[in-house]
Amino acid sequence: MTKTKRTHPLGLLDHLAKSVKNWWPLLLIILAQNQSWWGKLLIPAAILIFVIWPLISWWSISYRITPTALEFHSGILVRHHEHIPYARIQTVQRKQWFYLAPFHLEEVSVETASHEDGKPEVRLAAVTPDVAALIDRYRQAANAIPTDNSTATSAEPVATPPVQATYALTSRSKWQFILTSTGFIPILLVALGIYGKLPHDLIERLGSDLAHFSVLLLIGGALVIALGAWLFTAVMLLIRYYRFRATRTNDQIQVAKGLFQRNTITVPLQRIQAIRFKQTIFRQWIAIQTTQLLLASRAAAEDNNDDLVLLPAVTQQQSYADLHPFVDWTPTTAPDLTALSVTNGRRWLLVRNALLIALVPVAIATWLWPTWNALFDIVLIIAFGQGLFAANNTGGSLVNHHLLVLQTGHWWTRETYLVPLAKIQSVRLRQSIWMKRTHLMHLTVNVRHGNNNQAIALRYLTAQQAESIYDWYRMNAN
């Protein structure tokens, strides 16, 4: 396949969808103004935008898969030519909308680590599956033999590699995962905000007889909204994680999921920046956690802040054992994380900070709306709890000479990071003048995450704890 090719004509749908997404108000205007003369004037513009433009932009995209690089040409007025050597590819993502499935077509996106834009370097809207397969084969060949160039080019006949590990969601863990999702909370807050604006005139219209029911109505309505938001997220998760499957073959991991749009992401093991176990407090109660891969590309942006979910729901004691078959450098059992823990007197410092942050808004709110006093006090209790939670969950240790494990507790979520030495970009220590006296220090470890930085901060360690990590990093990082 060394000829330059265009994507399948069905890729036009994709360009059309993009035009509609950007210009739909124009369609509305034309429909509303179909009587007036200037509404008719807009019709040629609409034809240009919704017919001609998608056609040209589809026509302008072409690609070529050579044994050394992936070439991608695009652009109408300004032509772009991308040449991507296979060794530079971070992730290959395949998405298949249900309407493309009967035609055996899919969308392929290829990303490198470059910071540019928020979008993939190559995006082919509708191509046959052998495109992704071929890219994959060349890439594996390019990554497998870094020293010997003579064999790297002969990539053609590779037998299907053995599968080394698989994971599929059992229905029990799937339901645990879905029912304990906290994704509904932001939706709930927005919905309640809107709801809070409604009742005034609504209740007045219902008449004074019903006035004494108003509190009941308020609470009942809020509950209905909460349930609705929760059901909505549950359904969304069911669709998104439909037939979830993670597999490892050779040196790469593949994660596939989704109902209406089947989404398959392939990552070479050596591109993993860090691994994170994430566990909200609800999931702590039933002892399951989520395992995510932190990548240097935005392929997983739709998932959850750029993290590729590898194992959605695993019991806490199984986490390490289930992860190890996928990623060789991880420990097989949970390491002891007390080396970087925050104990005794230092826990109070985190509680104090959480309270201080909450105190100012609570004081202002109490002063403005004294009747809601009790509600605001709950915020203080939550802040107190969050401080304790952060303190109790801070931990970490050097598991071996090349692997650092760090654990934090932010926003009622415990996050455990496994960070290989080679992927730590920089390490920072911070100490205020008051902490100098008490020999305390904050430690921040920076790793690449999506197109940005993930700062993993452990606060109020002893100077000795923090400096031991800093020195380890400084001495061994090269």
């Binding site: 992927k423 730590i424 970009q425 920089s426 911070r430 990093y473 400084r474």
Partner: protein, 158 residues
């Protein structure tokens, strides 16, 4: 936290001093605009007064802090890593291994050029770090050191 050895070049104090004068001028111009608005559009007088206080106060504080800023800003470049340190009340120290550096940017405005200094920005795959002023020779040496490492073409890490 132990001390990092190298202070910035002494001339950086002169440049900080001049930039304090620069901010004095800019703030005075802004104050003048407020005064004009007060005379012609009847803006409140206290706006002009507040602005004047800021215009005079800010450069004084900036100038007064120069010795401290100089004393507590330090850097160190070794064969393997760049380290930076700044701040007294909130002291920060960061280590960037040379092997993680993606690119080095030398940047000098007219003042720095006049003093043969350069601002050095070191970028990793995820973070950027800046040394406010280095002797041009040291800055270029750092850049060459990193270029050298890049040429030795280690297997790509990211």
């Amino acid at each position: 936290m132990s001390q990092i050895r190298n202070p910035l070049p002494n001339r950086i104090k002169l440049i900080w001093g001049i930039s304090a004068i620069g901010s004095l001028l800019v703030l005075l111009i802004v104050t003048g605009l407020f005064w004009l608005a007060q005379t012609y559009w009847n803006w409140a007088a206290w706006l002009t007064v507040t602005m004047l206080v800021i215009a005079i106060g800010e450069p004084i504080v900036e100038t007064a802090l120069i010795p401290y800023r100089y004393r507590f800003t330090r850097y160190m470049i070794s064969d393997t890593a760049v380290e930076m340190q700044a701040g007294f009340i909130f002291k920060k120290r960061v280590a960037i291994p040379i092997a993680r550096v993606q690119n080095v940017t030398l940047n000098a405005g007219p003042l720095l050029q006049w003093q043969k200094l350069s601002k050095v920005t070191v970028a990793t795959a995820s973070t950027t770090h800046t040394i406010e002023g280095l002797e041009l020779a040291i800055a270029e040496q750092l850049r060459d050191q990193i270029m050298q490492l890049a040429r030795e073409a280690r297997h790509d890490q990211n």
